[in-house]
């Protein structure tokens, strides 16, 4: 694939500390059973890529982890906090979990710098000066400090997504969720976003990433999960997953997306 990132390190450290535990989890949209008996343990430092056909529930799964979607059965425990209707727990988890969206969801009425410093100021009560300094630090890391005073509408898609990543990092999260971060981007911009994500992985960030970028999965992920029909069909390390898929549906999916 043209957008394959360079310099990834597949042999990154993974600790044995459990950071997310999903147990027997079910979710329905009305009467539609979207997630069926999902079990997933994530250890600190893992880079998990979740793939599967559209409608397979992969986005819904990661959106359950920070309670953008509510699950109806089973347990989700993040950083030793169980996700229930208790708003305190939800807030605690959201402070630790960053998220990037397919359509970036930057705040168009705020400058890039304000986008990045908003949550630290209002959620963590960080003084404005300090929050802005942190924001600049992360904008430099995603290589767009010069855009700090622009509005999101004035940036390209790739730049916007990098701002969105910086915005999440400003909250100093322990876990990053990526919901198809490159699907809305032009081909030449995919790489700049993936490069930032690779950097992040190298620094040991725990990442769950819904994506169709199989190059990224091969070089960065330590585990690939394939979902279909709301269930986890297969999970394996990327090497085994791509070279030796076990399940028929996985084979079919891989043959379809790798054919081009």
């Amino acid at each position: 694939m043209s957008s394959q990132p360079e310099g990834a390190a597949p042999d990154l450290q993974v600790s044995d500390e459990l950071i997310i535990k999903i147990k027997d989890m079910h979710k329905w949209y009305g009467s539609f059973h979207v997630l069926r008996d999902v079990n997933l343990d994530v250890y600190r430092g893992e880079r998990i890529v979740i793939c599967g056909p559209s409608g397979s529930g992969k986005s819904t799964l990661i959106r359950c982890i920070n309670r953008l979607e509510e699950h109806q059965q089973g347990d989700i425990i993040v950083e030793n906090v169980e996700l229930t209707n208790d708003l305190k727990n939800i807030d605690a988890i959201r402070r630790e979990v960053g998220m990037c969206f397919q359509h970036f969801n930057l705040f168009p009425h705020l400058t890039v710098l304000e986008n990045c410093s908003l949550a630290p100021i209002w959620v963590k009560q960080v003084p404005r000066k300090e929050a802005e300094a942190t924001a600049m630090k992360y904008l430099e890391r995603v290589k767009i400090p010069e855009q700090a005073d622009k509005f999101p509408g004035q940036l390209s898609g790739g730049q916007q997504q990098r701002v969105a990543i910086a915005r999440s990092l400003c909250m100093n999260p322990k876990i990053m969720l990526f919901d198809e971060p490159t699907s809305a981007l032009d081909p030449e911009m995919i790489k700049e976003v993936l490069d930032v994500m690779v950097e992040l992985a190298k620094e040991g960030m725990t990442m769950l990433c819904v994506t169709h970028e199989m190059g990224f999965a091969k070089t960065v992920a330590n585990r690939v999960i394939f979902m279909d029909g709301g269930q986890i069909i297969e999970e394996n390390n990327p090497h085994e997953f791509f070279d030796n898929p076990q399940h028929e549906r996985t084979k079919l999916f891989l043959s379809q997306i790798l054919a081009h």
Binding site: V97, N105, L106, F107, P108, G153, Q154, R167
Partner: protein, 374 residues
């Protein structure tokens, strides 16, 4: 190969556009004479303006009489000057004070003047960003309504003035500005309430909005002037103007709520999701993320509602408050000036036009200021 075509591929120099495409000539060609239909429309428009504008200017300015003591006087002056009688603005000049102050006691009118100045001063920090000491200014804006209320009503050291002495443009401003200032926050609250996940709250808001929207303002004003007496315990005196203010505010709040709901629904769901995912609380997301964007989208609709409300203040005439039109009618009863209703209504129209057009221009300014390139 000619010299003009001698540059290599991809190195074509930038050339100025042909003179027929830019400047005045280009503009006229493109906008006024671009097709046969366009030419016909242009010619007809010019003819129409020629027919309308000169007589209008004659009536308003060139043939008008600006100082006289009666209508006959006006006519005599016009005759002496050797032209038709245009507008007799002298009448307005003589009546100007009653138009502005209503029946407010003459020796207390300074209070209205001071209130007007305070109102303008209080509006500046609210409407404009780059004013010195804006923060202190906003505190003043918050206090101003109370100071103005005290000035207009009296009490606590000032001669009390009953509200049935209020009238003219001053009454329009009191009702219009109170309605506008009061209905925006109530409208926002109603719009958010209507989107709430709590069914009870949502139903109360929906019922309120639909009831108010389903009833004409005049009916509500009648209710305010008569019906409330039946509901309130006997002997309660509940100022008529206050009732009108409440009704007008609630009426426009219902419309504002719907306008803002439109703005809220226009926002992509991702905005609230992003705010949620960063751990912002409901009110923080609303104040920092959702409302600034929703209100910005709603500016044209909000200002539209405000302009409607401002003009609807003239409806209070039917429950016996002395709005500018009422003042005009009263003036016409003066035998010295009989038959000058055109002048009166043109004058009142100009007053309303200036106010409403200012609001419209401000809304355009605000939209431009808040534009962030998306």
């Amino acid at each position: 190969m000619s010299t003009e075509r001698s540059h290599a591929v991809g190195e074509h120099p930038e050339l100025p556009p042909p003179s027929t495409e830019v400047g005045i000539i280009g503009w006229v060609r493109h906008n006024l004479l671009s097709s046969t239909t366009n030419i016909v429309i242009t010619v007809l428009t010019i003819y129409f303006l020629y027919v309308i504008i000169p007589p209008m200017l004659n009536w308003i300015i060139f043939d008008a009489v600006f100082s006289a003591d009666s209508r006959d006087d006006c006519r005599a002056i016009a005759k002496a000057a050797g032209h038709e009688m245009g507008a007799c603005w002298a009448f307005i000049g003589k009546r100007f004070e009653i138009f502005v102050y209503g029946f407010y006691p003459v020796e207390e009118r300074w209070r209205i003047n001071l209130s007007f100045i305070l109102m303008l001063a209080a509006l500046v920090p609210v409407l404009f960003d780059h004013v010195p000491n804006r923060k202190q200014g906003l505190w003043f804006s918050l206090a101003a309504p109370f100071i103005i209320g005290w000035l207009l009503l009296g009490g606590m050291g000032l001669e009390p003035v009953p509200t049935d002495k209020f009238g003219g443009f001053m009454l329009t401003l009191v009702i219009g500005v109170t309605g506008i200032v009061g209905s925006l926050p109530i409208g926002i609250a109603l719009a958010l309430g209507r989107q709430s996940h709590m069914p009870a709250l949502r139903m109360v808001c929906v019922a309120f909005i639909e009831f108010i929207r389903g009833v004409p303002l005049i009916t509500l004003l009648f209710v305010a002037s008569t019906m409330l007496n039946y509901f309130l315990p006997p002997g309660t005196t509940f100022d008529l103007l206050l009732r009108v203010l409440i009704m007008v505010t609630l009426f426009s709040a219902a419309y504002i709520a719907e306008v803002i709901r439109g703005g809220l629904q226009a926002l992509p769901k991702g905005q609230i999701e992003a705010a949620d995912s960063m751990g912002l609380k409901y009110w923080q997301s609303m104040r920092l993320i959702i409302l600034p964007q929703a209100l910005k989208i709603s500016i044209p609709g909000i200002v539209n509602t405000f302009i409607g409300l401002y003009k609807d203040t003239t409806l209070v005439i039917i429950i016996g408050l002395f709005d500018p039109l009422c003042m005009g009618r009263a003036s016409l009863a003066d035998t010295k000036w009989q038959g000058l209703s055109t002048e009166i209504y043109v004058f009142v129209a100009i007053f309303f036009f200036v106010s409403c057009f200012s609001m419209a221009r401000y809304s355009l300014y605000l939209e431009k200021k808040l534009y962030t390139g998306h």
